[in-house]
């Protein structure tokens, strides 16, 4: 019921009043013109006005809330006719029942039936057209609104991921490493500048809506990992197990990367010893599955920022698939394990 009430009426109450008034005015003038007594003309017009108003309201509501466009315009043609005939029949019966003494009224009434019918059909068809047109534009507006909203959400996501991706700290730390390499190993410095450039180019190229293959996503991730190796090579080791069959599988861009960054960051931050990051992919017919493991110190849990990257991935998954079960985290001993499942489009 709530959605019925929330719908805006096609015709405002004030317009109903004006319409009814105009109808009465026109009807009285016509009847009087064709020789009916003025008093009778007023009563006649009022009776029909009331019944017609009822019929029109019913019709307008019917087409506002129940709009059977799928079956063509059959109903839109049929209903006004039914309503018109009913109105005429009801009005005539009431007026006859009132039994005016005036001689010749009955004949006059019957004589004007065809004219009245045409008149009422015109009104009811006009009304139908207005209601249909209104609900159509409303539907279009709503569609446009939704489109705008969807676009905004995906724009926001894109912006968010760009900002995430262009994490200035990563850039500054990498530049600092390059600065150091220039002195001791200029060739390595060049190589790292190239990696940094490639990495940022791949990141900026993304459009948030299009999917891409794991192979492509992996290209960027491996650049990132290479640079982290340059910075933390003395205690960062990587165990990468990518199933050949998964390379062609599809995933939304920049969805896997935060998981990898998270693992590297929390692994390195949480421990002083060597850190081994495991990244593994699995093929299943319906899902691409990605597992990312990093060691952590169960003793230290108070540090802020843990799970923030995961939270954003989860939110994005929900926006994309409407599901909350695609990302799971668990701990096993001193290992933090994240499993990501990406449904494959058929």
């Amino acid at each position: 019921m709530a959605y019925l009430l929330s719908k805006k009426p096609a015709i405002r109450p004030w317009n109903w009043v004006i319409g009814t008034f105009l109808f009465v005015l026109l009807s009285v003038s016509l009847l009087w013109y064709y020789g009916l007594d003025l008093n009778l003309a007023v009563v006649d017009s009022m009776v029909f006005a009331v019944i017609l108003l009822g019929a029109a309201l019913l019709l307008a509501n019917l087409f506002t809330y129940y709009n059977p466009t799928t079956s063509g315009f059959r109903y839109h043609l049929l209903f006004p006719v039914i309503f018109g005939f009913s109105t005429l029949f009801l009005g005539r019966s009431i007026l006859l029942w009132l039994d005016f003494e005036e001689s010749g009224y009955r004949e006059f009434l019957d004589w004007t039936v065809p004219l009245r019918l045409v008149f009422m059909l015109l009104i009811l068809y006009g009304l139908t057209i207005v209601v249909l047109w209104k609900s159509q534009t409303e539907k279009e507006n709503k569609l446009k609104e939704r489109e705008l909203l969807t676009e905004k959400i995906s724009k926001d996501a894109e912006l968010y991921f760009l900002r995430q991706q262009l994490q200035p700290h990563f850039l500054f730390n990498s530049l600092n490493s390059i600065s150091a390499l220039i002195g001791s190993k200029p060739d390595s410095a060049r190589e790292m500048i190239q990696q940094l450039a490639d990495f940022f180019r791949l990141t900026v190229q993304k459009n948030a809506s299009g999917w891409e293959s794991l192979e492509k996503e992996w290209e960027r991730i491996s650049l990132y990992l290479k640079m982290e190796k340059v910075r933390f090579g003395h205690r960062l080791s990587l165990d990468l197990r990518l199933d050949e069959k998964t390379l062609e599988m599809q995933l939304p861009p920049l969805l896997m990367q935060p998981l990898v960054e998270n693992a590297v960051k929390h692994g390195l931050d949480g421990l002083v010893e060597k850190v081994n990051i495991l990244i593994e992919t699995f093929y299943t017919p319906k899902y691409l599955q990605i597992k990312v493991c990093n060691p952590f110190d169960p003793e230290v849990s108070g540090k802020k920022g843990a799970g923030f990257g995961l939270e954003s991935v989860n939110r994005r998954l929900f926006l994309l698939f409407g599901r909350k079960d695609l990302l799971t985290c668990q701990t096993s001993g001193n290992l933090f394990i994240v499993m990501l499942k990406i449904p494959q489009r058929q």
Partner: protein, 246 residues
């Protein structure tokens, strides 16, 4: 006299460039390089350097936490990629704050500043200025405690209550009691006031640990904590408790 310098920085290349620049500044002597706060702490205590070049994002314990654990911290220059900690850095009396990447000249300026400060300190034989409690914008998230050679990181949520014990404050958790050489006032300022309440001159409690408030003798109250511990509430403490609980 040479200035003795220690570097604590978790990236080898970042250490390398600091070293490269430092070598070219006369009157400096690099006496130690460490990759994390634990080794750094031990090293600094043994070497007693004049100047510390300190990264903030270090594994396990941060640069700030390392500094807090030092009884007699040297002059400190922070070296980090994060610009967000600058205010906090100066609150702990850092000499300078270098943003990565930095130039040789920038490091030189910072070191010269240190040289002046150290000379001044020697001349006047200044004792270390006792660290004032600063009004910090962000409440503590965890407390670092050193017990002998062991360092414990206690998330503030794990704290049941705090009790003043002479110059120390006893931090009571499910894992037992940890002692920290700080006045109670320090915790009153540093801990999140919506979670912790100073209910007595000698007691501060984690409000989420309180299960009952009951009258005790006349016009006096005490709190019962989840762990069964009873904590007395003073008159002014009762007022604060009332405010905290709304």
């Amino acid at each position: 006299m040479n200035i003795r310098v220690v570097i604590v920085e978790d990236e080898p290349l970042a250490q390398e460039i600091l070293e490269e620049y430092l070598v070219e500044i006369p009157g400096l002597q690099l006496v130690g390089k460490f990759y994390n706060g634990y080794d750094g702490l031990k090293g600094i205590q043994e070497l007693a350097p004049d100047l510390l070049l300190l990264d903030i994002n270090l594994p396990k314990i941060s640069g700030f936490e390392l500094l807090e654990l030092l009884d007699a911290p040297p002059q400190v220059i922070f070296v980090t990629a994060y610009d967000t900690y600058a205010v906090k850095a100066f609150e702990v009396h850092a000499l300078d704050y270098l943003l990565k990447p930095f130039t040789k000249e920038r490091l030189k300026t910072a070191v010269e500043k240190a040289r002046e400060r150290i000379a001044l300190k020697d001349m006047q034989n200044l004792e270390r200025v006792t660290q004032d409690v600063q009004i910090d914008s962000e409440p503590l998230e965890r407390v670092v405690v050193k017990t002998g050679a062991k360092i414990d990181l206690i998330p503030v949520g794990d704290i049941h209550y705090l009790r003043a014990e002479d110059d120390y404050v006893g931090i009571h958790t499910a894992k037992g009691r940890f002692l920290k050489l700080k006045p109670m006032k320090y915790f009153e300022v540093k801990l999140d006031a919506s979670i912790f309440c100073r209910v007595h001159r000698s007691f501060m409690v984690n409000l989420s640990q309180v299960i009952r408030i009951e009258p005790y003798e006349k016009e006096r109250y005490r709190l019962i904590l989840r762990s069964g511990i009873e904590v007395p509430v003073s008159k002014s403490g009762r007022l604060r408790l009332k405010n905290a609980l709304g």
